[in-house]
Assembly symmetry: C2
Homo-oligomer: 111 residues x 2
DNA sequence: CTATGTACCTTGTATAGCTATGTATTATGT
DNA sequence: ACATAATACATAGCTATACAAGGTACATAG
């Protein structure tokens, strides 16, 4: 019935959320782009399109929240690994605060 | 320091989230636009700009998730009250399912 | 009679996700 | 040997939406 609406809505919800998710994942260790997508897909129900992730990582880099480095492989295409900066960690902390408030707010109005 | 980034991020997170919030609030009873904004502001930490709400309500109406009716006041400007439709209720249910999964996913990757 | 609060609305701008497309390498299947 | 899939990066164009800024109109308080 209103599948179309719900589908578009989910895409809208991802705006902003994906940056938060990516920064959260990078907290633990460094990841390269393709790996990040796989990691998130397997451990959660969230799918990040490639055309979403790469521009997103460039934005995070421009904002100095992550750094990146190319790592050559013994065989195959080199990988670009991303690493949280100190500013990235600080920013993530602020985002977590907001997210928790948002969660709480929605619980409050939805009950 | 990266206040600017966090500020913009919060605005992005609201995309989609606000539709969810509004539908949730309308579950309980009918509200008119201005009242909706006040209701959400007082009971949560979320601010909805007027320039956001009115176009949003029109979208929800076009999608048949809400209906609206003008109610004359004894004095002052008439109010436009919004009411959830059956489709709105069904759609909200789907949105809640997705939201809870999203919450769970983020908890999982952020620990 | 001016300012504030209520109550509606629209236009323009910036942002970000998605589809489609492209490049290149390696592994797998027939 | 050749096609297909999987890995791994990237970009362009489309679309949707939040927000600032502006506008209209009525009522009340100072």
């Amino acid at each position: 019935m209103n599948d179309e609406f719900v589908h578009k809505w989910k895409s809208q919800v991802k705006k902003g959320t994906l940056a938060f998710i990516v920064l959260n994942v990078l907290q633990g260790k460094e990841y390269y782009g393709y790996e990040l997508i796989e990691e998130v897909k397997q451990h959660t129900s969230i799918e990040i399109a490639e055309g979403t992730l790469y521009p997103l990582m460039n934005r995070l880099k421009k904002e100095s929240l992550v750094t990146s480095k190319w790592v050559e492989q013994d065989s195959g295409i080199p990988r670009k690994y991303y690493c949280l900066t100190k500013m990235g960690i600080r920013t993530l902390k602020e985002m977590k605060t907001y997210w928790m408030e948002l969660e709480k707010s929605i619980k409050k109005i939805s009950k």
